[in-house]
């Protein structure tokens, strides 16, 4: 195992966050897809890195509905050690002493706010990509390899919607892009680099429960990587099994809808409306369980399996 801060597969460690730099900068505002964000941070290195990932989405005026994420560094009165407090909409979500934990936890704080409060969208815990205007989602709980799969497919030429949220627009039923930075676990670096993902410039951070992660700007993959709103054409429930031959097994649409409601962040908020939206979307999609093994082979399997137009389900009732 490399020592803390050492490069992993040539990826540079998190730079000096400048934690001793200027005490406070002006808040910066962004709108990433449908997600409005105001970042107020007193750690210049974090601001720089966040801005490097999201500068395309910067806006001048604070959105009135913005999710407010603050990073405040304070010394403990008792120990005099410096702690970084990460707040979402004024509520303290994380406290860390490690500068290299700040950026992933800023991302985590935004995710938490999106999951709880983003209006107008039915949100599913899923990574989400597209090809030729057709959306594919990988719904899963953490640790099932959905972000790695999405990153692998992007490297293979697919387009990006999100690595954490499938957002269904309640008005149109379409999947909308929320092209947040990709969060890639250290265990996937080598496989993704082998597929050509440009991880070399991405700083490595530490994320609780996940260990070392790289935060990757999707535009570093290619300039036109982000897809527009698109219909759902495949629902694939992934499960990573080390050393397994990748396998795709069809499941029924009824079961897929049932499982999707279990990994939805806000299905209880929309109830019957959410049910109808999901049922309409999945009626036009193919549904599978994926045993994901070696990444390159898994990407090849998905590439081949999803090359054709999906058949619509025979629906009654």
């Amino acid at each position: 195992m490399p020592a803390e801060g050492a490069a992993v597969h040539g990826i540079r460690p998190v730079p000096d966050t400048g934690a001793e730099g200027p005490a406070w900068s002006e808040p910066r505002h962004y709108r990433v897809g449908p997600v409005p964000i105001t970042l107020n941070c007193d750690v210049p290195g974090v601001i720089r890195e966040f801005h490097a990932c999201y500068h395309r989405y910067e806006i001048d005026l604070p959105p009135p509905d913005a999710f407010r994420v603050e990073v405040m560094s304070r010394r403990s009165r008792r120990s005099l050690r410096k702690y970084h407090h990460i707040l979402g909409n004024g509520e303290q979500l994380f406290v860390t002493r490690r500068p290299d934990e700040i950026m992933p936890h800023v991302e985590w704080a935004i995710n938490s706010l999106v999951a709880r409060f983003l209006p107008g969208y039915l949100s599913i815990h899923a990574s989400c990509v597209a090809r030729a205007g057709r959306g594919v989602i990988f719904p899963a709980e953490p640790g099932r390899g959905k972000s790695t799969l999405a990153a692998g497919l992007l490297a293979a030429g697919w387009s990006y919607l999100s690595d954490e949220f499938a957002l269904f627009d309640l008005r149109t039923g379409l999947l909308v892009p929320y092209p947040k930075a990709l969060c890639v676990k250290a265990g996937s670096f080598a496989a993704l680099e082998a597929l050509g993902l440009p991880l070399q410039g991405a700083p490595v951070h530490h994320k609780r429960y996940k260990g070392r992660v790289a935060i990757v700007d999707p535009f570093a993959i290619r300039g036109d990587v982000v897809a527009g709103p698109c219909p759902l054409t495949a629902v694939i429930f992934p499960r990573y099994v080390e050393g397994a031959a990748p396998r795709l097994e069809p499941i029924s649409r009824a079961r897929a809808i049932f499982e999707l409601t279990r990994v939805s962040f806000n299905f209880p908020k929309y109830r019957a409306r959410g049910f109808e939206l999901l049922a309409d979307a999945v009626a036009e999609a193919e549904c599978f369980e994926l045993t994901a093994g070696e990444l390159q082979a898994t990407v090849r399997l998905l590439d081949a399996a999803l090359a054709t137009e999906p058949a619509t389900g025979r629906q009654t009732g």
Binding site: R253, R255, G313
Partner: protein
């Protein structure tokens, strides 16, 4: 006689049902067998009729022997399950 509850939103895809219970905010997924039986719960058909319709759907016409008895038991058990999950009302007189 068993009757499917009215507060449900549902879709049936390829013989399998996914049901949203609006009143209790619960989701249910039924396999093809349970879906077939649930769809027979129209409030007008007694359990015996449901069992016979189910048997006919399974290709068991005119069989009153042990196979039909097993079908009756399976249908009764499924109806109990559906009632236990609040998907049907099963008034006492239908027992």
């Amino acid at each position: 006689m068993p009757r499917a509850r009215g507060s449900m939103r549902f879709r049936v895809f390829d013989g399998e049902a996914v049901i949203y219970d609006n009143a209790h905010h619960a989701m249910h997924y039924l396999n093809t067998t349970a879906t077939l039986i649930w769809q027979c719960c129209d409030g007008a058909s007694p359990v015996e009729d449901i069992a016979r319709r189910f048997a006919a759907d399974c290709g068991l016409y005119g069989d009153d022997g042990p196979t039909m008895n097993r079908v009756r038991e399976d249908v009764a058990r499924t109806l109990d399950e559906l009632a236990r999950h609040g998907l049907i009302d099963m008034p006492r007189e239908c027992d």
